[in-house]
């Protein structure tokens, strides 16, 4: 099963909204950002990813959804090789991820990741969280790193929290810091692993708004999320992952209104209340 922008384009229904057409303008550059080829992974005897093929173009925004335990997070974590795999290839920004640690760290520098549990460093201030990698990985002078960090903290609308420690912030603020921290490396690709699942309901929106802002700027994004409103708003393509397999790939309008696969229909009926 090979999924690509071309294929999903073929399936595109004529009722795609004007807004998503505007978003699509920025994705027309025909550069591949991420290519996943026949990826297979096992946890012990459990076959968690089965023959995953996925191509993400530069500027494209993919939302991956599916039932829990289906392998969504694992797939995402393979893209920056936080998880390794047994068979298959992952090529990020033209670089194939292999055992080579140096390549892995280089790719990780180009790929930002936001976690469900934020994973901020509690012993560092918000600003230090943001400048750590630019200073130590990019070898950026501290002044410059501070400036960039403050820029991105403004963008996620919490510049005034720069000198606090993560534990002093609300969940929504922490997640926005996490997004700013990833952006400080000025990545080409952003991965989001259920970024709003650990948040109190009243804080979900502030994080989603930040992500929509990023999408509007043309960032290449792969998002594991069940926020269907967000998916409809920014996704170029939806991917449904179940039992380690890609079940359906389609643009959001068609995905939500005319799901093709039985599994997709079932999944959507369960999450849309």
């Amino acid at each position: 099963m090979v999924e690509s922008l071309g294929e999903s384009g073929k399936k595109r229904t004529p009722n795609g909204s004007a807004r998503s057409a505007v978003l699509d303008m920025r994705t027309t550059k025909n550069e591949v950002a991420i290519e996943i080829i026949e990826l297979n992974k096992w946890f012990g005897r459990f076959h968690v990813l089965r023959d995953i093929d996925l191509k993400v173009m530069r500027g494209e925004r993919i939302v991956v959804c599916g039932p829990s335990g289906g392998g969504k997070s694992t797939l995402l974590r393979c893209i920056n090789r936080i998880e390794d795999w047994q068979r298959g290839r992952v090529i990020v920004d033209g670089t194939e991820l292999t055992e080579d640690l140096k390549t892995i760290d280089e790719v990780r520098g180009e790929v930002g990741m936001v976690f469900q549990q934020f994973n901020l460093f509690p012993h560092l201030t918000v600003l230090e969280n943001c400048t750590l990698a630019p200073i130590w990985v990019r070898k950026m002078p501290k002044m410059e790193a501070d400036e960039i960090a403050r820029h991105y903290l403004r963008r996620v609308r919490i510049p005034e929290q720069a000198d606090k420690y993560p534990a002093q912030l609300s969940g929504g603020q922490q997640q926005r810091v996490a997004i700013a921290r990833a952006l400080c490396m000025q990545p080409k690709i952003m991965l989001f692993d259920e970024p709003t699942s650990a948040l109190d309901p009243e804080m979900v929106k502030e994080v989603l708004d930040t992500m929509v802002g990023l999408a509007l700027d043309g960032m290449t994004m792969v998002v594991v999320s069940h926020e269907m409103g967000f998916a409809r708003q920014v996704a170029n393509r939806m991917v449904l992952l179940d039992a380690g397999q890609i079940v359906e790939v389609n643009e959001p309008a068609a995905f939500f209104s005319h799901p093709q696969h039985e599994r997709t229909k079932l999944f959507l009926s369960q999450i849309i209340r």
């Binding site: 640690l101 760290d105 790719v107 549990q117 994973n119 012993h123 990698a133 420690y165 990833a182």
Partner: protein, 381 residues
Amino acid sequence: MAVATQPSYIRRAVLEPEPPPAASAAATARTRARLFDGPFNAALTLVGIVIVVALVWPTVKFLFIDAVWTGSSRVDCLSETVGREVGACWPFIKAKFTQFMYGFYPASEQWRVDVTYLLGAMLLVPLLIPSVPSKGLNAVLFFGVFPVVAFFLLVGGVFGLPHVETRLWGGLLVTLVISFTGIILSLPLGILLALGRRSQFPIVRTVCIIFIEFWRGVPLITVLFFATYMLPFFLPDSWRIDALARVLIGVVLFAGAYMAEVVRGGLQAIPRGQFEGAMALGLGYWRMMGLVILPQALRLVIPGIVNSFIALFKDTTLVLIVAIFDLLGQLRAAFADPTWATPVTLFTGFAFAGMIYFVVSFGMSRYALFMERRLNIERPR
């Protein structure tokens, strides 16, 4: 409809926050009352008071009230001479003080030890006070430069300083040299071993496990004996290592193995997400460990680390059995001096040594507690 007995409620006025009620004298009164509320608690309280009095009073009496403060020989500390019961014989300590501090370090060269102490204190004190700036430089000077300077100062043989053999060293000097070296080197060694034990490379892991389990499995006395008396048989003559240096190596490896397990405990307490967060930013292994994981892990195990430090400090007394005279060793040597042979010499000496060990250990403990509190204020949970 008429079932509703509870009317709906809408708040009209906002409650302003009030200060908490002041801690009253009632709390103290309550504590006092609890000491005697009922026969069991009253009995416990009385037993407690008896124990405290029975322990504290004789100690104070021995150390201060009955103590002899001036004198020049054993005669001054005998009850027959003084005409009453005699407590601590402090002139003994005074007479032997130089020996307790320097061992047999030549009197003309003892200023070198003092200069070393002074240098160490001048670098250590600002390092320990959080508000003093430039900690980085200070740390480099204390951990990097000071040991080298101290080595040349104490050993000599360069810059016109006469060579002083380590077998002449003794007393508090040896105690401090061994514990300082042990403390400074066992922590980095322990960190490396702990990381190695968690390594994904089977060979590194196995080597570290064998190392740790070996050194934890043998008593320190065995290590010291082996280093002092057996090693020379195995090593060629040209490899002859100084006796004190052999002991130092033994102590460092021994303490490092213990430290490794303490640090490993801290590493295990760090959530997986911290590793992943660091990895996702492209921090390599050493930067991830050095900047993200270890600062958190070590903070968690400060009590364990200080525990090891204190244990190490007191374990240095074991070097006595390989004929190195640390503070306690020097003390025991002084007991043999017939000039000061009195019934109280032994107690006086041990009381003195006990106080020194206690002050240093307690100081480490309090400082660690202070550091822990400070770090917790910086990072509220």
